[in-house]
Amino acid sequence: MDNIIEFKEWFIKNFNAFEESLNGENTPLLHRVRKEAFKNFNELSFPTVKDEEWRFTNISPLLKYNFTLPSEDFKISDELVNKFLLNEIESNILIFVNGKFSEKNSKLLNLPEGTIVGSISDAMKNNPEIIDKYFGKYASYSNQIFTALSTAFTKDGAFVYVPDSKIVEDPIHIIFITTASEKKIIIQPRNLFIASKNSQVTIIEHFVSENDNIYFTNAVTEIVAEENAIIDHYKLQEESKNAFHIARVEIDQKRSSNFTSHSISTGGVITRNDINAHFNGEGGECTLNGLFLLEDKQLFDAHTLIDHATPLCNSHEHYKGILDDSSRGVFNGKVLVRQDAQKTNAFQKNNNILLSNNALVNTKPQLEIFADDVKCSHGATIGQIDEEAKFYLKSRGIGEKAANAILIHAFASDVIKSMKIDSVRNYLEDILSKRFNQ
């Protein structure tokens, strides 16, 4: 208990100093939002396993540490950045070091006119009208303490704004790098992505670490797909194996918009991902796919919601987990089909493979349907490597290790194949090969 008080105490003591440190990143509206969020943070308590939504994810190890906001300026070399690039010819790269935008390491070479890509801190200064219109409107901070914390202390993060009818052809690769630090730091990327009418953009959020430090990433991303916009969103979570990662992505989908998410998770000691997509217009399409690779004592928790509030929308969700050692996985996928959402198609699947007797998965697919003319399905499986298939491969001369690697790749293949960007697919294939083909 004392720890939790201390954890909170630091932020409570430092809020005023934080607000004073802001330099132009403060419209009257933002000031009000921050104040309100701070009040909520103060009043809310941290979730425990007694909360239904956190039943299998005990965050008390996170609350043992006193994390502080990074104060110094960190510089990193391009060599370090290069380690995390998907290929050599990427044209749009945004680098954040310990949560702070690093213009020096970033580059933006191929963007259509009027597109704004950069730090949210700059956007608060230069584009307050856009910020005021969208910021904090989707990720509610009234009842989620981590979102309240993020909102109260919002300082930096990625900002993407694509104007009407513009197509951003090259993906925007945003890398959040955490480097060595004396103190145990909390980084709070606060991202806002807006695709205006008829526009199209691909955004990759990529979380990495220079070493195996203990730190805490508390990320909140708000995404708006306006009418007929197309957003292809990737999240590659490769944090330090000792890091805590709590992230929330909130998506607002207008009429005929198309949102695709691929969430890949390999890092972190405790990871919690919330992805919530809301249909707020007819004819929308939403795909939420995910792959998590766990080992040692890692814990990964995916909570997703697809909110069919309007008719004639389609959603597809497929999460796959590969768990080794004593790792634990949680999948809680809720599909809500509201009364007005007739002609909904919603399909959800979660498949898990356990490579060790000590690995564990709790899976809870949920369909809540209040409309009567819908097509919905869901299903979950937990299994092991198929011994029949393994014997078949061995009988062709393929050894134990290679046979396992082939079958694990095969298990992951449908999620990998559903990713549209070659470079992301290859990057992921490499991760799998390094993990299993030694």
Partner: protein, 254 residues
């Protein structure tokens, strides 16, 4: 090449093979026939090294080496090949990936260089002709959604690529129409040489119209009850397996 001595095999405590003796030399084709449940497939799978098939007694020597001590993959690397009665479907693994990995693992085992992409492709294309498969097949997942005939042809195709010393065809003919049967038989005949041997496990005599065996063995209740030349297969076709059951009783009572 292969010497099976008094082989006893159990599955889940049930005795299936009860003392098999069999000697196979290079250049020979042996047919093992017998009614359902006589232990034919058990013999095939046990030779390939399936773990659930427990050898309780007996010995198997393969080129002078104790086969039973080798892992399934090492048996394959040393030239033993099993064409499965029920080839396994592996979604997400392409045929070409399976073959490339297998071929290179076998080459690595023999301290040979991996095949480069062009040599590999040439080899594959050459062998595909044998079994009448087209190239689109290479990218498909192993056996997934294949017809029965395609699965069996795929087994023979894999055999052709891996070029084994001892091939065991486990009921490769079951469920095949006559055209597919001819394709399979043609593949086997073309691969025959004085250095390799083939064991054909079958329930029916039909395949033996196209692949002429040097020896025919009849398996009944876990034992080889009769061995002979190819004419034994015709005799079986004519008289059925009942004839043997009776024959065996005669031996016992007489």
């Amino acid at each position: 090449m292969l010497e099976v001595k008094n082989l006893h095999v159990s599955i889940n405590g049930n005795k299936i093979l009860k003392g098999i003796n069999l000697t196979i030399n290079a250049g020979e084709i042996h047919a093992i026939m017998g009614p359902n449940g006589s232990g034919k497939s058990t013999l095939a799978q046990a030779l390939a090294g399936r773990e659930e098939y427990v050898v309780t007694d007996g010995e198997v020597f393969y080129n002078g080496e104790n086969l039973l001590e080798l892992s399934p993959e090492d048996r394959a690397r040393k030239g033993l090949f099993l064409a499965f009665q029920y080839p396994v479907e592996i979604p997400g693994v392409s045929n070409v990936n399976l073959l490339k990995t297998a071929l290179n693992e076998i080459r690595k085992f023999h301290d040979e260089e991996e095949l480069d992409a062009i040599d590999f492709l040439n080899l594959i294309k050459d062998k595909m002709k044998l079994v009448d498969l087209d190239e689109s097949f290479l990218k498909r997942s192993v056996n997934e959604g294949f017809s029965g005939g395609e699965k069996k042809r795929n087994e023979i195709f894999q055999m052709a690529v891996l070029n084994p010393k001892l091939a065991i065809l486990d009921e490769t003919d079951s469920g095949l129409d006559i055209d597919a049967l001819k394709v399979v038989a043609n593949g086997v005949n073309k691969l025959k040489s004085k250095d390799n041997a083939t064991i054909i496990v079958t329930h029916y005599q039909r395949l033996l119209d196209y692949i002429i065996p040097d020896f025919v063995h009849v398996l009944y209740d876990g034992k080889i009850v009769k061995s002979g030349g190819k004419e034994l297969a015709f005799e079986l076709e004519e008289k059925g397996y009942e004839w043997l059951k009776n024959g065996e009783e005669k031996v016992v009572t007489g």
